[in-house]
Subunit: 174 residues, 2 copies
């Protein structure tokens, strides 16, 4: 019958692209019109795939939080080198993802955050990665250090900025 478009696959693609827009502009600062334009479709087309702005945002966060940072572990390297590798892999997108996560978590009380499945999985995922390098024993400590390093780097202006992935168009402020 009509265009052969795999709804699920396509909407996942859209969510990935939209995520960068959301993190660059914040949830409230993002309008469906602008995202649609950024994605190269009309607003109505976007609404065809996501019934609501919040649904789109949710899809984006799920996308980001379930991202795999796979096969970064190289047994030939030292723990420190492997941690540096992981750091380097996360650094470029860290600020962007944290920005999205903060929007996602905004207004949630600690209990709600603790109960959030996606968030829990994302943290567990990273913890497992670190544990794979330094062992369960030091995993928590090294994960803290990793996140702290990423955060401090961003706050010091040495990391990749939020706009990095989305530069092309628009030039609004805040």
């Amino acid at each position: 019958m009509p265009k052969i478009v795999d709804h699920d696959v396509y909407s996942r693609q859209l969510a990935v692209q939209a995520a960068s827009y959301f993190s660059a502009h914040g949830y409230a600062g993002t309008s469906m019109r602008k995202v649609a334009a950024h994605l190269g479709l009309s607003k109505s087309a976007l609404y065809h795939y996501f019934p609501t702005k919040e649904a789109l945002f949710l899809a984006c966060t799920q996308m980001i939080m379930s991202g795999e940072e796979a096969d970064l572990l190289d047994p030939a390297l030292s723990d420190g080198q492997n941690l540096d590798r992981l750091y380097s892999a996360m650094a470029p997108t860290f600020a962007s993802e944290m920005s999205l996560v903060f929007d996602y978590l905004r207004g949630k009380e600690p209990a709600a955050i603790a109960a959030d499945e996606a968030m829990g999985l994302a943290v567990a995922n990273y913890r497992a990665l670190v544990a794979g390098i330094v062992g369960e024993e030091r995993a928590e400590e090294e994960l803290q250090r990793l996140l702290g390093r990423l955060l401090l780097t961003y706050l010091s202006g040495s990391g990749a900025g939020l706009e990095a992935e989305i530069r092309p168009e628009n030039g609004e402020a805040v």
Copy 2:
């Protein structure tokens, strides 16, 4: 002449209160009407003190970033205990402040962040605090660990949430 209202002092008070609203709702998610209502004045009165929404937001971030976490150092305690103290002092407001900072930094490229005076001072301030406890040598490392611990705690839902300080009114989503 007119009402004896110290413009500077009063606007600083307003900025402090407004900061919690901004961090609870995000920059774009905050309207001048709502903040004004939250602060207990009319929109126009608010505009009298801050010419622009952005000016208000800037004042808020300056307020947050220049906050002093003074005299937390107790020589009688071990380094670890002092670090724990610092952690405990920062934990309740960490998420809220980071949320504001992410909004503040949004859209800024690394170079611009590195050049940002207020941001630089805030980081230097915290680094100095840590250095006062563990010495310059280990300051950077311990600061990373401190920030990582704060961040991980928040992401795990064990810390103080964003709403903590502003609960009373409003019940909007995201």
